[in-house]
Amino acid sequence: MSSTSATSPQPFLLDLHVQFILGLDKKQDEFEYWASEQLRLNGVLWALTSLDLMNRKAELKRQDVIEFVLSCQNEDGGFGGSVEHDSHIAYTLSAVQIMMTLDAMDRLDASRVITYIQSRALADGSFSGDEWGEVDTRFCYITINCLSLLGRLDAIDVPKTVQYIDACRNFDGGFGCRPGAESHAGQTALAIVGALELVEADKLGWWLAERQLKNGGLNGRPEKLEDVCYSWWVMSALSILDRVHWINKDSLIKFILESQDPETGGIADRPGDYPDVFHLVFGVAGLSLLGYPGLQPVDPRYCMSRYITDKLPKFNVDWKGVNKE
């Protein structure tokens, strides 16, 4: 059952991954399916994006997905993780990304979404995740990402938000989730999406490249275990900084391929663990970013196919890593 074979590298199991995704919805008589209901909208996004990157988007019933997404929108304009779940800025972004991927923006009441996002803005340029007040740079990124997809960055005070992100920069060049917090690869990827001009590219690039471990995988913080999802965050950050060549691509490709489950499909956090759709999407996106053949090119800022984000109006920032072929 071990998926680690040192001699012959495992091929990419595209069809098996499609089967894995289509099987996710067939476990509705089990507790575990409903116990993750609060993040169903994210699950749908990860499944859809995985399929899209594998050129198999049509496997999901477009109309059903659209109706489900719309049923998650609440009176305040934000989206919950599922029907009858409270609004949160993270699920609001997922909803917008799904509608964008399905080319269904005409079905979305964007003005209500924008009103919700504006209501989350705080005086110091940061954003709270929901009405209960958690603050995190993740939410700055989510806001910027979401509004850029809606073509409405003018709806918030971007320079103020950038200033806040800057206050979260650390001695190693990385970014934490709040001023004073330890650097984290995920936060860092998000931060530079929000404010690329702040970045000390070489210092940060070095910190990021140091996340690669002997087995090819990358970790999220120094002295932690390698993980497929962090491999994505680190690499997307390096890609935006135009420094993907600072890591060993071949050994990372091998690590991701070894994290596939050859029995059920899907990708796990690392070889030999149970697979899930979260690590599947970041594994597939990672392979795409590394130039693995047969996949749609991915946009490192959004973790969405480039053919979708290419339609977006240009930012006022020069996204070197993205515009370069």
């Binding site: 609060q38 009405e131 007040g133 958690e134 330890e182 120094p222 999802c229 956090d269």
Partner: protein
Amino acid sequence: MSADQHHQKKVKTTNEEREAQRQRSIKKLAEYKGLCSLVSAKRKAKEYDDAAFNLTTKLLSLNPEFYTMWNFRRQIILDRRTRMDTEAYQALCLSELQLADAALKINPKSYWVWNHRRWILENMPEAAWTRELKLLGRMLDMDARNFHGWGYRRYVIAASGARSPKEEFDFTTEKISQNFSNYSAWHYRSKVLVQAFADPAERAKVIDNEFELVRNAIYTEPADQSAWLYQRWLLSLVPQDMDRWSKELESVQELVEIEPESKCKVIMQGQG
């Protein structure tokens, strides 16, 4: 926000085991769905009574990630507050903190539970900071790198003013001496050092000692990145001090001879 599926080693199971597991799961689901539909009716009717409160307790014990239930619970707490004296309300908040303790024991990385904790502390008549610091001490003893634990510690210190930057500096000394590879502690140290030693002469002396500490750490754990990163930061505090830079370079060269595998490229790059 991530679907927290990490470190779940795949184990071989027999068909019977899988079937038994499935049956347990189906039974548990019946209970869960029953509770969900009861609570859904309460939420829609805006009924903030004891029955609703108890339903959230049960649901959250089955699924602590059900964030909408934490939200509903706080709505109920706010409603109760209007009908309670301060003492009773304080007691309610303390029991909420205990509930969060139990939930964090099961999943120390749950954003929603940490949020609930913070909200309770910010909304209770007399915030129980001493209790929080004790809990945090225990948590960081168990997992010295818990991201949430460190973040929450910074929050508690800032909100309570219970400990001075100097005391926090000493706390990081303690954590680092337990384990030189504790990057979280090194990071925190870089933040509190600047706050604790504002006087330039005093700070210069402290920085001298820091280089000594870093040297010890590097010689003990040469393959570890933590101390190297900290050293790089220390050097950035003394950009003009050429004596210091050449002294550090010397000791790095010494180390390269003994430990070719070490992370010496940090300082080499810093030079360039």
